[in-house]
Every structure is written in structure tokens, then in C-alpha cells.
Symmetry: C2
Subunit: 104 residues, 2 copies
DNA sequence: CCATTAGTTCGATTATAGTCGAACTAATGG
DNA sequence: CCATTAGTTCGACTATAATCGAACTAATGG
């Protein structure tokens, strides 16, 4: 049974969090996860090769943005909202809110 | 009289903002500006060569984080707080607040 | 137990960013 | 008007990150 390492909330760095969220593809993954959680990687691929998608999920995981749990053959991802809230209060929620008021 | 281009608030991209803030040096500049504003570049150099510092200020400027005004021989920088607040409500303020509760 | 599914890992390639010295510019002060 | 100050721009180099195919792995279902 494969498992993932998830950094402790207290070990997260704000700059790493912001970096993880600074990529449009990753930001879109986070937005979609906020809407429907947990979710496997596959429906979030958006046409990219699996290896790229896996890389982006790994960045999000290492930054503490998502938690991935192996459930049978799929890997279910969810946002670490409460932990991020306690470590960096208001940061993720403000970013999620800003994503809901878009512009082209 | 040299002047700088500052993007309109409505043209700012969240991913660019987060990218600009994802660098520890730039984040530190922003933190210092939040404390004392406006400020020239020089006291924020932190031992780096001028060309590197200038590059980081340029990234912050293009992302809409700072506004730079030429005042005589110095270039005064300030945060575009109210504009960022209207474009991405709560994002910058949450990040600034998170910077005040540090950890090594 | 074999094929399938879901995702990871590897390795190579390319693209993007950061770093730094050196030359440049614009405003000021003597 | 020359020297100084404050910062920019340029160009080269380096480092970091993204991309993608191919091989791999672990769980499941027939």
C-alpha cells in the first residue's frame, strides 16, 4: 500500500505555498478541489500527460496545499484547508474567494 | 524625468501576484514596505548587488504589488494596498498578517 | 493470474528565472 | 559642469522548473 508524505502544517513555508499556487494549472486544480472534494487526479488532468499532472500534484502536496490518500486504485486529493487556515490564517480562503470573481 | 509603467488593477492576474510574492527576498521587501512606506530601494537591498535588487522590484512592479515614484534622485516604493484589496480582496492583507506570525 | 486502471518515477529536453558585473541614465549638489 | 547618488539595463551564465514519453508499480476486476 503506497502512501504519501505530507509535511506538518507547522513546517510549511509561506513562500512555498505561494509558489505552489502561482501556477495557473495548479491554481485551477485547487479551485476545482474547493468545489468538489475529495477528487482523484484523472478528472483534473485537462488534457495534459499524466507525468506533468503528477508533477503538479506533487508540488501542491509538498507545499502542504493538498492531501492525497490512496483509496483502492485511485488517489483521492483534498485541500488541507483547516491546517492551512491555522498555519496561515485567511490566506487560502482569500485566494479561493478571489478565484470566484474572475476576469479574462 | 523617468517614470514607471504600473499595470491597471483590473489587468492584474492572481497567479502573477502569487508568483511575485513567492520569492523570500521579495516577500521580505513587501513586509518591510508594509511597516514603513514609502521607501527607496537602497535600504531594502540586504547586501545584494543593485542589479538583482532592481530585478526583484521590477517583478513586484509588474505584478502590481508596488508602485514606484521618482522623487528627485531616489525612487520611492509603496504597496498598492487599496488597489490590490479591490482586485483581490483580502489576499495581500492575509499574506501580510501571516508574515507577522513567523517561524524558522 | 492476467489485463486494466491510476498514478508515479525516470531521464532527457527545453524554458523560465535568478545572479552579477559593467556600462548607462537622470537628478542633485557643490 | 563635474562628481555623486540611486537605480536601470544589458548580456552572459547558472540554476530551477516545466514538459513529455516510456518504463514502472500497486490495487482491482474478471
Amino acid at each position: 500500500m503506497k502512501h504519501y508524505d505530507h509535511p506538518l502544517a507547522e513546517d510549511l513555508q509561506l513562500s512555498c505555498l505561494l509558489y505552489a499556487l502561482s501556477d495557473p494549472f495548479r491554481l485551477e486544480v485547487v479551485r476545482k478541489l474547493a468545489v468538489c472534494q475529495p477528487q482523484p487526479c484523472a478528472p483534473l488532468q485537462d488534457g495534459r500527460p499524466k507525468s506533468s499532472v503528477s508533477h503538479h500534484f506533487s508540488v501542491l502536496r509538498k507545499a502542504g496545499v493538498i492531501r492525497t490518500e490512496v483509496v483502492g486504485v485511485t488517489h483521492m486529493n483534498s485541500l488541507r484547508e483547516q491546517e492551512l487556515q491555522s498555519r496561515f490564517p485567511g490566506v487560502l480562503s482569500a485566494i479561493l474567494a478571489a478565484l470566484e470573481v474572475p476576469q479574462p
